[in-house]
């Protein structure tokens, strides 16, 4: 196994999972949002809730489809590219994945058909149950996969026998020390990311002067979410960080770009800088004295672990995690700001017509997704050089393919993903560019979106032939 092949395999995994993680995160948030909308519609019978349900269920369907196909790749990649890991830890992570498939994937897929296509086939009560089942399925799925992932960060409840792990206590494995924090942090992140998307779409239509009841409702609902949940997320994140400090101190040292402790000296907080792995120092550091000790130790001068306390081969790449962490936190602060400003504008009665604020909300549309990616890079790259923390190194987990093989498949993955998911995102944006339509009936025609798209985009209307038969 050459170093090149290992790097290529890591890039491949990072690339495929970065694409994948975005789709389930949105489906987790969106499924719950759809369940709320349908519940409100059943309760109040107000048409705009149904309007919103139909509108977002199309976007949901597209996202879900992309999540399914990109997720299938993940389920097999553990074996194709990381057979050392599967062989070593498969008897622990395998059953967790099997439970995810059994309790979540089938539930989602089984009820998704009725949710999307079943409006004329089942009654409203049963339809609502289907939506709920899909929403519950996404949450169950998150629970299992994060149990598995958290166990890889904070492994326990296993014994090493003949070079393979044997599960000893499943309770300990599932409820490992970082699991509750990671699960909460991720699910709340999914909700926030979805709320920001909804808010951005609402802002877009408000900016274009389409202030229908449905548009105002989605904007308002999303803003409540940002106001109430973004600060909560910051608190959960803080707890998660303290948990990491306890179990993965090297990760925290890397995130802080903190290289060494001098006796009796408090740890400063480095706001910005450039951690240099070779020189073993952080260049251009802009420091606030004592703040690192205060934030992480809740003490005036207790030091935090420093990178030089770990052997060079056991250190994660501080340059990357230092910055990915700051991107995540920065975006989180902007989300809190967005929520707070929205509350003030709501109180002044100007929520729907303050243009600079609407533009801000529009720009924040992708912020949740970006924060999720940045957070994942922080926690996963911060776990390096381990796959199973302290037990199995990444270099020992990889399948010994040649660099040519892994390189070939990596190129294919990049081309296919950019093409397919690029088109998918284009279709998502196309759906979002159209405002929700009040006249939609359950049996809407296949051409509906196209007609509405072109009312907003006259420059493209030349593309639209009057009546063309497909299959050319």
């Amino acid at each position: 196994m050459s170093v090149l092949a290992l790097d290529l395999a890591r890039i491949q995994f990072g690339f495929t999972i970065s694409f994948h993680i975005v789709f389930p995160a949105i489906t987790i948030g969106m499924a719950s949002y759809l369940a709320v909308l349908e519940g409100l519609w059943l309760k109040t019978k107000q048409a705009h809730y149904l309007e919103l349900y139909r509108y977002w269920s199309r976007i949901f369907a597209l996202t879900f489809g992309m999540g399914v196909v990109s997720g299938l790749v993940m389920a097999y990649q553990f074996g194709t590219n990381w057979s050392g890991f599967s062989n070593y830890a498969g008897s622990v992570t395998g059953p967790l994945l099997a439970y995810e498939v059994l309790t979540a994937f089938f539930l989602e897929a089984g009820f998704l058909g009725v949710m999307l296509f079943g409006w004329n086939k089942v009654g409203p009560g049963l339809h609502f149950v289907s939506t709920l089942m899909v929403a519950v399925g996404t949450l169950i799925s998150a629970t299992w996969i994060l149990a598995s992932n958290s166990w890889m960060h904070t492994p326990q409840g296993v014994a090493l026998v003949d070079g393979r792990l044997i599960p000893v206590d499943w309770w300990q494995i599932v409820f490992n020390p970082s699991f509750p924090y990671r699960l909460m942090h991720m699910v709340v992140a999914a909700y926030l990311a979805t709320a920001l998307l909804v808010v951005a779409v609402g802002a877009w239509h408000l900016l274009r002067g389409t202030a229908t009841k449905a548009v105002r409702t989605m904007f308002s609902m999303g803003m409540w979410m940002a106001l109430l949940v973004a600060p909560v997320q910051a608190v959960i994140g803080d707890f998660h960080g303290l948990n990491t400090l306890e179990y993965q101190p090297a990760k925290i040292a890397a995130i802080e770009g903190h290289w060494e402790n001098k006796p009796g000296e408090a740890t400063p907080l480095i706001l910005f800088g450039w951690p240099d792995m070779a020189a073993e120092k952080t260049h251009f550091a802009l420091e606030i004295p004592h703040l690192g000790s205060l934030v992480l130790r809740h003490s005036w001068d207790a030091p935090i672990p420093a990178l030089k306390e770990f052997a060079p081969e056991d250190r994660p790449n501080a340059t990357i995690v230092f910055w990915s962490f700051r991107i995540m936190v920065g975006l989180g602060m902007l989300m809190i700001l967005l929520g707070v400003v929205s509350a003030w504008l709501r109180w002044r009665g100007r929520l729907y017509d303050t243009k600079p604020f609407l533009r801000f909300a529009l720009c924040m549309g992708p912020a949740g997704v970006l924060a999720i990616l940045a957070g994942w890079y922080t926690t996963e790259i911060g776990r390096q050089p381990w796959v199973v923390y302290g037990m199995l190194r990444t270099a020992d987990a990889v399948t010994p393919h040649s660099a040519a093989e892994v390189g070939l498949t990596l190129v294919l993955f990049v081309v296919v993903y950019l093409l397919v998911f690029g088109a998918g995102v284009a279709y998502l944006l196309r759906l979002m560019r159209v405002a929700p339509q009040p006249d939609e009936t359950p049996a809407s025609t296949p051409d509906l979106e196209e007609d509405h798209v072109f009312t907003l985009a006259p420059e493209f209307s030349a593309d639209k032939p009057g009546s063309t038969e497909g299959g050319r």
Partner: protein
């Protein structure tokens, strides 16, 4: 009594893979048959017969992978590293056809042909490489101490290419008899004609594979033509029976029976291959017992499987029941 966990898990995984072959088989088959239908509305109808169920069908493939990892991690890591390239090609092809379900209806008229092609190419490529994977698996995967010892292209053999083509015909027949059941008019009439030809092709393929496999491994020959020969004889006889009934059902324009007898054929072919490979999980040498995860893993996962799989079957059946009957043009949520 001590339960034989490896045996039970082998049964569950075999059941899951069979469900996958049957269920994703007919929806992949629809993609394979797309080139025979050029009318856009026909294509809409064909796709809508499976749109509400396809991702449930594909979930059985995920269960196959996850179940194998959970119960036989060693087999999972050997098989998946040995069949690296064909599996990756299959997964990529499944991406194209999976997104085509949504993208095709979201595309503008002048873009739609691209997603039609993605659906056709994706379905065919995925099926072909599944067949190649199957063939390579039957031929055997060399491993020492739980690590694959063959080369990157060992899977590429005349036999595996043939099983790739064979699976294309299998899924196409599943798809065409499914459409006989779910559609009407000209579309259905075409499917009747296609099914008759595909039935013949499948019979020929089953015959060739049955005669070819004994030459691959003397143990397979010994199994079929040794002392158990008379016990196993009903299998080829039942194949002939199903084939005959399939052609009769097609001739009298029955709507459901052609699909049922096709299921019978596929099931028998699957059982036949299983008998050839049994009791190995990584042919030719690693047995189910040898590749097993520790009982703590198999037992823990088994509780879930035993409780939940019946529930899955119930709500899956309910989903099919909700969408029973013929599909007509203009239906669907899009």
């Amino acid at each position: 009594m001590e339960a034989n966990l490896p045996l039970i898990w082998a049964g569950i995984i075999l059941f899951g893979i069979m469900m996958y072959i049957i269920m994703d088989g007919f929806d992949l088959g629809i993609g394979i048959l797309y080139p025979f239908f050029s009318d856009r509305h026909d294509r809409d109808v064909m796709m809508n017969t499976v749109a509400p169920v396809w991702d449930g069908n594909e979930t059985w493939l995920v269960l196959g992978g996850a179940g194998l990892l959970a119960a036989f991690p060693q087999a999972y890591s050997i098989i998946l590293s040995a069949l690296y390239l064909p599996l990756i090609f299959m997964l990529m092809a499944l991406i194209f056809r999976g997104v085509a379900f949504e993208f095709r209806f979201k595309a503008r008229d002048h873009e739609r042909h691209f997603w039609d092609k993605a659906f056709i190419g994706g379905s065919m490529t995925a099926t072909f490489f599944q067949g190649v994977t199957l063939g390579a698996y039957i031929r055997g995967i060399p491993a020492v101490n739980g690590v694959y010892t063959g080369g990157a292209l060992d899977w590429l053999t005349p036999f595996s290419l043939f099983t790739g083509v064979g699976l294309l015909a299998t899924y196409a027949l599943l798809g065409s008899t499914w459409l006989v059941m779910k559609t009407s008019g000209d579309l259905q009439a075409t499917c009747y004609r296609l099914s008759r030809v595909l039935g013949l092709v499948l019979l020929a393929i089953i015959a060739i594979i049955s005669l070819w496999t004994p030459f691959i491994d003397s143990r397979i020959a010994a199994r079929w033509f040794g002392p158990d020969m008379w016990t196993l004889l009903p299998i080829p006889l039942l194949v002939l029976f199903c084939f005959y009934q399939l052609q009769r059902a097609l001739a009298r324009k029955a709507e459901v029976w052609p699909f049922v007898f096709t299921l019978g054929l596929v099931f028998l072919g699957y059982v036949g291959l299983g008998i050839s490979v049994w009791p190995n999980i990584v042919p030719p040498d690693i047995s189910i017992q040898a590749a097993s995860a520790p009982p703590q893993s198999q037992g823990f996962a088994l509780v879930g499987a035993v409780v939940i799989i019946p529930i899955i079957l119930i709500y899956t059946a309910w989903g099919y029941y909700v969408f029973r009957g013929k599909v007509h043009a203009g239906e669907g949520y899009h």
